[in-house]
């Protein structure tokens, strides 16, 4: 069994069912050899071309079938690969982000392709850009993959706004000072309302976009060996301080509005920012339809030195691949062939890794590209990849919260933020080092744990069953057992079993990229880490705050709606249905819809607020607003609770209310003395289920904020998910799951125990 979730958790379930379905869809018995590739999203324009290449490949390799799976969109992309690898699904060729390569290498999850390259007479290393190719080599200089496309981070510029500043256009070696002067000149309050309308720069600020400033400032992220962070050194903190100054003192910068789930086009696209960046080639695709102004790209300004970072997708072969030769052959054909690489350039995916494709018309004369498209090639001299020393996804998400504290909310000073980032990174690196010395979980331990707990389950069952019943009853019982067998099997296989596995996992360290048996035993270390993990604490309090807001508000609104809608009129029927619809919508769709509501610029709420003269709230960007915003969303979705209340209201004997009316009770006292007491069992039910649901909120923050700003909406299950599938730390994720389980258990039992004092069960005596 390979599923690693806890019984009570939605996302883990989603993963488990995904794996199950995927397993079932596997062809029963493949006569032919199948090459399974997960390298591209089916919605992309390039998908048909990839399919064509696959058919070509099949034509030239008899008995081979190429199966292309779709990566799926956006932020889930990297997770799908890991789900499938964790589920032992056959993948022969995958695309990963180069920043993830180190993590895959550390787990020995990638196949060393050097022997294949060595044996490949047609292979010419100089056909691929050298720096990107170098990033595909491991510590022994062996190639483990090839670049698909890459893009250095550059600066986009609005040339019309630039002309209006009256200052000279920056040259290729412009400096921070030049940049600051221009940014100041480009910042204007055009309508004189005291609010800045045009900004010098719309600033991006995820780690990879911030790191160029650090490098330019002489700073580093890690030391050469990758053992210690250098984020607390002046080069790093100074760069942060510079950016912070742009945002909060000079006020010439606004953070990039496309960040944090904002739907509206960014400031740059709206013609309200002189510069936009640092950001990659992919934006050209988004900006190609801008007619309102002329735009171009520039190298990033230089500080002490010129530097930029590079984003890159690479094709790699998992160690578990069943058809490594075919995978290598297909990878070579696709990535070293002009057809696909030129298309990648044409659709704005990035700079093709293949030099010939990048030097072709497809890239240099792409109508979608900016006039100075060659900047993307020129800056490669100063470009650096994130050092392939560590799990960058982990470090990035560790630091993202701090970065947002410094740059988004301004709550943290640059120096303090830098120190915190350094401390978090060092703690992480320390744990990574310690891993190698760790004892492995003895083989058979997991099986032992499973058998023991199954025996215990059986024992509990037998003990509760009591003495053998008389023959007639026994037969009846046998029938009953026959009927529940299927369910019981499901319970053991999909709930009890995984729960036990996750309990064992919580005492271990295991990456889903490793074989299942290969886990290090750490005892209570995961739990100890939780106790001192600031992110977990933030997550816990965000979750508690969310539950404390969403659950009572939801109850009150659901009850109020039920009371309003209980009369059997047609209108009430329609409104009832309308209120119930959100409850049956997928949370992902709900989240997508609510982004329109919460959008800081164009959102429904802010527009209304502004119409009344109030200032809008950046709902998803304000640490103090984001939890209430999610609670508001939760209240919107209380249809199911309302339905339960309605059913309960309908079950109240109407004579009770009439009796109260005759006794002289007005509407409020009838509610308080007659209806509410009769509803208390349902209130308890909704309270308990609502609390459990609130503590498990996942999809909405996953879609809308990814936990930000800072850790303000990093709710427990989201953090669990990130720990497991982003940070590849399944043991820690399991520990979170169990803590969550205990919290929910304690909360539920407390609520149920408190019921003695306030819940009235009609027709049943209470002490």
């Amino acid at each position: 069994m390979r599923s690693a979730g806890s019984a009570s958790l939605g996302p883990m379930f989603a993963a488990a069912s995904f794996l199950t379905v995927a397993l079932m869809l596997q062809p029963a018995a493949a006569q032919e050899r199948t090459l399974t590739a997960l390298v591209e999203d089916a919605t992309l324009v390039s998908w048909p071309v990839l399919e064509e290449l696959a058919r070509d490949f099949e034509a030239r390799h008899a008995g081979v079938r190429v199966e292309l799976l779709s990566l799926g969109g956006a932020s889930g992309t990297q997770d799908k690969v890991k789900f499938m690898l964790a589920g032992d699904l056959p993948l022969d060729l995958i695309r990963i982000d180069v920043t993830e390569a180190a993590a895959f290498l550390a787990e020995e999850a990638l196949l060393d392709l050097q022997p294949h390259f060595d044996a490949d007479v047609g292979w010419d290393p100089s056909s691929i850009f050298s720096a990107p190719l170098a990033a595909c080599r491991d510590a022994e200089e062996h190639l483990f993959g090839l670049p698909q496309t890459f893009t250095p981070y550059v600066m986009y510029v609005n040339r019309d706004l630039l002309a209006r500043t009256g200052l000279a256009a920056p040259g290729a070696d412009w400096t921070w000072e030049d940049f600051l002067a221009l940014a100041r000149a480009g910042t204007r309050d055009t309508d004189g309302d005291g609010r800045t309308d045009e900004f010098g720069i719309s600033l991006t600020q995820w780690l990879q976009a911030v790191v160029p400033w650090v490098w330019q400032n002489g700073g580093e992220l890690l030391d050469a060996g990758g053992t210690r962070s250098r984020m607390d050194e002046p080069g790093f903190a100074g760069a942060l301080a510079f950016l912070r100054e742009l945002l909060f003192e000079e006020r010439v910068a606004s953070f990039d509005a496309t960040f944090a789930g904002q739907l509206s086009q960014g400031l740059f696209q709206a013609g309200r920012a002189l510069f936009y960046g640092p950001v990659g080639y992919w934006e050209t695709y988004r900006f190609q339809h801008i007619d309102a102004f002329a735009w171009d790209v520039l190298p990033l300004p230089r500080g002490e030195r010129a530097a930029t970072s590079v984003a890159m997708g690479i094709y790699v072969v998992p160690r578990t691949a069943r058809e490594p030769e075919l995978a290598y052959a297909f990878l070579r054909e696709v990535l070293c062939g002009m057809r696909y690489q030129q298309l990648m350039a044409e659709i704005g995916n990035g700079v093709p890794g293949l030099v010939a494709a990048a030097r072709s018309e497809s890239f240099l004369a792409n109508p979608a590209a900016p006039p100075s498209v060659e900047v993307f090639l020129d800056v490669m001299d100063d470009a650096r990849f994130m050092p392939p020393l560590a799990n960058w996804r982990k470090i990035e998400s560790l630091c993202q919260a701090e970065l947002e504290g410094v740059l988004l909310t301004g709550a943290t000073s640059a120096a303090a933020g830098a120190r915190a980032m350094a401390a978090k990174t060092d703690a992480f690196l320390g744990r990574e080092r310690a891993r190698h010395g760790r004892r492995r979980l003895p083989s058979g331990a997991m099986a032992l744990a499973l058998s023991v707990s199954l025996l215990a389950l059986g024992a509990v069952f037998l003990a509760r069953r009591g003495p053998a019943p008389p023959a007639a009853r026994a037969r009846e019982e046998r029938h009953a057992y026959g009927m529940i067998t299927l369910w019981a099997l499901g319970f053991v296989a999909f709930l009890f079993g995984p729960a036990v596995v996750s309990l064992v996992l919580s005492l271990c360290e295991w990456s889903p990229l490793r074989p299942f048996g290969d886990m290090g035993f750490v005892g209570g270390a995961n739990y100890a880490r939780l106790a001192s993990d600031p992110t977990f604490h933030a997550s816990l309090s965000a979750t508690a705050a969310y539950a404390a807001l969403a659950v009572p508000a939801g109850l009150v609104v659901a009850l109020a709606l039920a009371l309003l809608l209980r009369s059997p009129s047609t209108l009430a029927g329609i409104v009832r249905t309308a209120c119930y619809v959100p409850a049956i919508l997928s949370p992902v769709i709900v989240a997508a819809v609510w982004r329109f509501v919460f959008d800081a610029d164009d959102g429904l709420i802010n527009r209304q607020l502004r119409a009344f003269g109030a200032a809008g709230v950046a709902w998803l960007r304000e640490p103090n607003a984001v939890v209430p915003a999610f609670a508001l969303m939760a209240v919107w979705g209380i249809g199911a609770q309302m339905l339960v209340f309605l059913a309960a209201l309908q079950a109240i004997d109407p004579a009770l209310e009439e009796a109260a009316r005759v006794d002289g009770a007005g509407p409020w006292r009838r509610f308080w003395h007659v209806i509410l007491p009769a509803l208390t069992p349902v209130v308890l039910f909704n309270l308990v289920t609502g609390t459990i649901a609130a503590f498990q909120v996942f999809a909405q923050p996953y879609v809308m904020t990814q936990g930000g700003p800072g850790d303000a909406s990093r709710f427990l299950v989201l953090y669990l998910y990130e720990s497991g599938f982003r940070h590849l730390d399944m043991g820690y994720a399991s520990a979170i799951a169990w803590v969550l389980f205990v919290i929910l258990g304690v909360l539920s039992l407390t609520l149920l125990a408190s019921a003695r004092h306030w819940v009235h069960y009609a027709g049943r005596a209470r002490g």
Binding site: D653, R661, G664, A665, P677, H760
Partner: protein
């Protein structure tokens, strides 16, 4: 204690059901009036209009000459006992009794006193701490009555309060209610579909059918001189025999039955109570087709050609099925009704 007057009360529910059709009724102060009629005839509707729980479509309700139309139920100073008691399930008996007082703003000490007094009166003192779910049907009934009288209202309304009790308890409660009314003397409207209850309880009985009042009068009057064929069939147990026939030259004919009548010639309905038929040497010949022995009395169903007559004899009779008898309805105890209108034909 109030005089209750209903004038021209009609009720049409949304959906078109006409539950009441121009009902006029007056209940004297301190009177115990029983509304009786078959299921669905509008008894509850009438009661609820008085209570203020249902608004009449037309007509006026006056207490002591003052219209209460438009007053909320709670402002009318009426108390109501429901068929299923409608006790507040989460309140103890004491709290249930105190609830109307609490709503009326009666001070705590006074409240306690009156609850104790009422509990004493109804024998509920032992039960004050219990919840309704811990009470028997009879006890719940008593609490419901207690909750009604504790406020000393102007009008009591009972909607089939005894129908959920078994026969023995029902008999006891009937007696208690009667005693209670005598003691408190509060104007009472009491709904039932049980004619025996109507006969034993009320100082007056009002028979309703299809939203219309057929007869109002004291129980004996209604029993002795039913104003309509429906009343005749509804009041009395076993029910009155109603035989359709024809009057011709002063003789009523139906099957082999021949009876003298003063009614004018034409179709006619004969009504005769089972107790008012004698078995004798003369009279119409009939065959016994069913014998039902009830202990203190025996019911015989006899066939006179196509006509069926039920007769009730005191005590135990030896008559067997298939025997032939001669039947003679007592001439002074015959009732005549118009088959069209159902109205009593005066003789």
């Amino acid at each position: 204690m109030a005089r209750v007057e209903l004038t021209g009360i009609s009720k049409r529910y949304t959906g078109g059901t006409v539950a009441l059709d121009a009902v006029d009724l007056e209940v004297a102060a301190g009177e115990f009036l029983v509304l009786v009629g078959p299921s669905g005839c509008g008894k509850s509707t009438l009661l609820r209009i008085v209570a203020g729980l249902v608004e009449a479509s037309a007509g006026d309700v006056r207490f002591d000459g003052e219209s209460v139309v438009g007053l909320e139920a709670g402002q009318r100073d009426v108390a109501m006992v429901f068929q299923n008691y409608a006790l507040y399930p989460h309140m103890s008996v004491a709290k249930n009794l105190a609830f109307p007082l609490r709503l009326a703003g009666v001070a705590r000490a006074e409240r306690r006193r009156r609850v104790a007094e009422t509990a004493e009166l109804l024998g509920l003192t032992e039960l004050l701490k219990r919840k309704p779910a811990q009470l028997s049907g009879g006890q719940m009934q008593r609490v419901a009555v207690g909750r009604a009288i504790v406020r000393n209202p102007r009008v009591f309304l009972f909607d089939e309060p005894l129908s959920n009790l078994d026969a023995k308890l029902r008999g006891e409660m009937r007696g208690e209610l009667r005693a209670l009314h005598e003691r408190l003397g509060i104007t009472t409207l009491y709904v039932t579909h049980d004619q025996a209850e109507a006969m034993t309880l009320g100082s007056r009985v009002c028979v309703l059918e299809s939203g219309r009042i057929l007869q109002v009068g004291n129980p004996l009057e209604v029993f002795e001189r039913p104003a309509a064929r429906f009343v005749a069939g509804f009041i009395g147990s076993p029910p009155m025999n109603l035989v359709a026939g024809v009057a011709r030259d002063g003789v009523f004919e139906a099957g082999t039955l021949r009876l003298p009548t003063a009614a004018p010639a034409g179709p006619l309905v004969l009504g005769v109570r089972p107790h008012d038929i004698e078995i004798g040497a003369d009279g119409s010949e009939a065959e016994v087709i069913d014998v039902e022995r009830l202990g203190t009395s025996t019911q015989l169903v006899c066939a006179l050609g196509p006509v069926r007559l039920t007769l009730a004899c005191e005590g135990h009779v030896t008559t067997e099925r298939g025997e032939r008898l001669r039947l003679r309805p007592r001439p002074e105890r015959l009732h005549w009704f118009d088959p069209e209108s159902g109205a009593r034909v005066p003789t």
